[in-house]
């Protein structure tokens, strides 16, 4: 479908080349390209979205087929924002538009979105790789004022990523680089550094002049805005898509963005700065489609939604249930499963009360075929999950020689094979989708704390810990993080269902009761473990000991493994 071309005149009289696709009666999506691109960078995304949206793109001033401002002042952000509103008014009079922007397009769209009253003209804003310069000014200021090691690291990292901005301020040299070589080499730069396959029509034939003129964008705006940032909050719902392999815009830049954007949705995409649009156009289109549908339906009043899908196994009680609720409270859609469907359904009901609608399934994680079927079902009903929490597990106590073959089988089937099946089924889905994700495996402090009474249990959990380490290495290129959680003594019903080797039913009940009492007295709530799990997904921390005893044992195991080996002989566990 070839776009319909028209010209819209900016407030100061420059002609802007506007390209329209799709049904004008459908919701309007307005796309703003970055530097040194033109509207053509959106080809794939626009093609996909045009099926059910009125898609409008334009060449920003100085680029492609649009007019060129006379001087540097013509590139100031206020003009660029005015252009956006002019195009929006022309193509969608009286109806707010959904803005999608990338790179410099994103910077100028922020200027429009943070304009007072912008929520009347802009229904939603999806931003890729481009912060608001005012917000960034405050971001820098906050970090220079409080130079904690973490802040300094963030400053240094962003500084290293932004070297080209300084380079663009160099007179003569920057334009000359584009003129004499860089423009010609651009396809190779995209291929080698960004992973973008060369294709016909890309980059645009006007690249050389676009790139040279666009340098003025940096020179006109960077220094003045960053030096004297203005307070710019916005009521517009914003979807921030973080590109995990972006070489220019760091993840840390969006830290604390909620201060300015109360209605913020965070998504992340396993892509580089340009491959997001040129290689994964349909994925970006999907994110935009989901967001426009949600904001278009006026869902502002409901519980917050972050658009993520989280699957939790063994979520009928304890840590699993608490984790499902914690993710739901964050606004994630939650799918839970458990052997006990009634308990899982209850968790889903509670999750739906504190967050978006949740769903429950009955799954035996030790059954590989069942987990595969579950993964297929989830993908079909709800999509590919962004987070998988392999939580289902059983407790077992008994020395090696007491533990029967069946007991070994059961413990390994649930605790180890359950995790293997989960990682295999959902890990495959995640890698195939290519948007990254996170897998959380529930190991245990027993994974590194030997005890003669926990032979089978500790073995299964140690295997989960090592499995997580290996899997992390394998899935890293796919942008999928893996965390192993080692809770320690947490007050859940695992103690009430723990089996004991070599005892009668009555003795077992008594032992279960004693263990439950001990765990209750320790009183560490599963909600705190859930909070750690949510945090590990955010930070990507590989191994997370949770309670004090879990942390102490891990430290002790490193300082003096012999001591732990000796303690393993004690009759505790």
């Amino acid at each position: 479908m070839t776009p319909r071309r028209r010209t819209v005149h900016s407030a100061d009289g420059l002609p802007l080349a506007v390209f329209e696709q799709g049904d004008p009666a459908a919701p309007t999506v307005l796309m703003v390209h970055g530097y040194p691109d033109t509207h053509a960078v959106w080809d794939d995304v626009a093609e996909d979205l045009a099926a059910d949206h009125h898609v409008v793109r334009y060449d920003v001033r100085g680029a492609g087929a649009s007019g060129v401002p006379a001087g540097r002042d013509g590139y100031r952000l206020e003009h660029l924002a005015a252009d956006l509103f002019a195009v929006a008014d022309a193509v969608s009079p009286g109806r707010p538009v959904h803005v999608v922007a990338h790179d410099w397009g994103s910077l100028q769209s922020w200027e429009a979105v943070t304009e007072p009253g912008a929520e009347r003209r802009i229904a939603s804003y999806t931003t890729l790789s481009g912060p608001c310069l005012d917000h960034m000014g405050f971001w820098l200021r906050a970090r220079f004022r409080r130079p904690t090691p973490r802040h300094l690291r963030q400053l240094l990292s962003q500084g290293l990523h932004s070297w080209y901005i300084t380079a663009f301020h160099l007179p003569v040299l920057a334009p000359a680089t584009w003129r004499f070589g860089l423009a010609r080499a651009w396809p190779r730069v995209l291929r080698d550094l960004e992973g973008v396959a060369p294709r016909a029509g890309h980059p645009q034939p006007t690249l050389r002049q676009d790139a040279v003129r666009g340098i003025e964008l940096y020179r006109a705006n960077m220094r003045p805005t960053l030096r004297a940032p203005r307070e710019r909050p916005t009521e517009v719902p914003v979807q921030l898509v973080t590109l995990t392999r972006d070489r220019y815009v760091g993840v840390a830049l969006s830290e604390g963005l909620e201060r300015w954007v109360p209605n913020l949705t965070r998504r992340s995409l396993n892509a580089s700065h340009w491959s997001a649009l040129l290689e994964k156009g349909s994925v970006v289109a999907g994110l935009v489609r989901e967001f426009t549908a949600r904001t278009g339906a006026g869902q502002k009043a409901g519980p917050p939604e972050d658009g993520r899908l989280v699957v939790v196994t063994g979520a009928g009680s304890g840590i699993g249930r608490a984790t499902a609720l914690a993710f739901a409270e964050q606004g994630s859609r939650v799918v839970v499963c458990d052997l006990d469907l009634e308990a899982a359904t209850r968790t889903a009901e509670l999750a739906s009360l504190v967050g978006p609608a949740a769903h429950a399934y009955r799954v035996d994680v030790s059954d590989g075929a069942a987990v595969d079927a579950f993964a297929k079902q989830v993908a079909a009903d709800h999509g590919v999950p962004d987070v998988l929490v392999n939580n289902a597990g059983v407790g077992h106590s008994g020395t090696f020689l007491q533990t029967t073959e069946q007991e070994w089988q059961r413990v390994l089937d649930v605790n180890l094979w359950g995790v293997i099946h989960g990682c295999r089924a959902f890990g495959t889905l995640m890698t195939e989708r290519g948007e990254g994700g996170h897998i959380v495996n529930l190991a245990s402090a027993a994974a590194y704390l030997p005890s003669k009474l926990l032979a089978a249990y500790a073995t299964s959990k140690a295997a989960v810990l090592m499995l997580s380490d290996c899997l992390r290495a394998e899935l890293a290129p796919a942008g999928i993080g893996v965390s192993a959680i080692c809770p320690g003594i947490v007050n859940t019903n695992i103690t009430r269902t723990t089996t004991f080797s070599g005892v009668t039913a009555d003795q077992q009940a008594a032992k279960q009761q004693r263990a439950s009492k001990l765990y209750a007295r320790r009183g560490f709530p599963p909600e705190k473990v859930a909070a750690e799990i949510v945090r590990s997904v955010r930070t990507g921390k590989p191994v997370v000991p949770v309670t004090f005893e879990a942390k102490a044992a891990r430290l002790l195991g490193r300082v003096s493994p012999g001591l732990l080996r000796l303690a393993a002989r004690l009759n505790v566990g």
């Binding site: 249930r321 009901e349 009360l353 504190v354």
Partner: protein, 286 residues
């Protein structure tokens, strides 16, 4: 075992006594409902308890088993409670969508009632869910007591139900972790209307006497999950107050349970929360 063979005391009340207890409980719930109708955003906990006390006194109440309490917002779930002083009504203002709990224990002519009333202002879907689920606990407790299970086992059964529901046990925040306590006709002579630490002086006299005499029989007038409650329900009247919480919402009911020598029943079924369950059940069946 000495505890098991201790003679079970006879049921100490006549039908007329029970009628008076029922009247006092009705009066208390009636006043709580009046305050609930009056309450609105902006009211503080102290204003609510003052209002409750005024209405109770106007209705003829002479003394209080304990001072009236009111908890708003996350205080209904006793979040961030570190000292018993935090139970007392404070300056927390009611806001739209907040849950609240009123708790009062009027004494009329020695007949004591101890009631808990949960409510909300505006919309609160979490509260609706908890309020509906509270019914399960009323039925569960009666079933277990009828079966003459030891009180600590009933407590554990309530705990297991709370865990299954995914809520948390908030009555364990009460002093002594009690889910209930025995109520008798106060006959003490101390000054009426005077309280110490929130409990009426007459209450403390009676309770102190009860604690000692019951202890001698291996029983306790307080119902908790410890060793002291490892006995079958003592015949008499028990004020039972399961208090459940989820996130920042807490709800309870508190009413009198009649335990006779061989049976048990709730003193009165014509109470606001019971009526609410039957209306929601009717709506659901419609």
């Amino acid at each position: 075992m000495a505890l098991a063979t201790a003679p079970r005391p006879a049921f100490p009340f006549t039908e007329a006594d029970l009628g008076r207890f029922r009247e006092t409980q009705q009066l208390a719930y009636h006043c709580a409902e009046q305050v609930a109708a009056w309450i609105e955003p902006g009211v503080t906990e102290r204003q609510a308890t003052a209002q409750l006390r005024r209405r109770l006194v106007a209705a003829g109440v002479e003394d209080f088993f304990h001072v009236p309490f009111a908890w708003f917002g996350d205080r209904t779930a006793f979040r961030h409670f570190h000292t018993p002083l935090q139970f007392f009504a404070g300056g927390r203002k009611l806001e739209e969508g907040m849950p609240y709990v009123l708790d009062c224990a009027p004494v009329v002519d020695g007949y004591t009632a101890d009631i808990g009333y949960g409510g909300k202002v505006g919309e609160n879907p979490l509260w609706d869910r908890l309020a509906a689920d509270l019914r399960v606990y009323r039925e569960l407790i009666l079933r277990e007591v009828k079966a003459r299970k030891p009180l600590d086992e009933v407590y554990a059964a309530v705990d297991a139900q709370i865990a299954a529901h995914g809520y948390d046990n908030r009555h364990r925040v009460y002093p002594g972790r009690v889910i209930g306590h025995q109520v008798t006709r106060t006959t003490a002579r101390g000054p009426a209307g005077v309280n110490l630490f929130g409990f009426g002086v007459r209450t403390l006299q009676t309770l102190g006497r009860e604690l000692i005499s019951e202890r001698l029989h291996g029983r306790s007038p307080l119902w908790a999950d410890g060793r002291a409650s490892r006995h079958a329900p003592t015949p008499g009247l028990w004020a039972v107050e399961p208090h459940i919480g989820f996130r920042d919402v807490g709800i309870k009911f508190e009413e009198l349970l009649v335990v006779t020598e061989d049976d048990a029943y709730w003193l009165d079924d014509d109470l606001p929360h019971v009526r609410r369950w039957s209306t929601t059940a009717e709506e659901a069946s419609r």
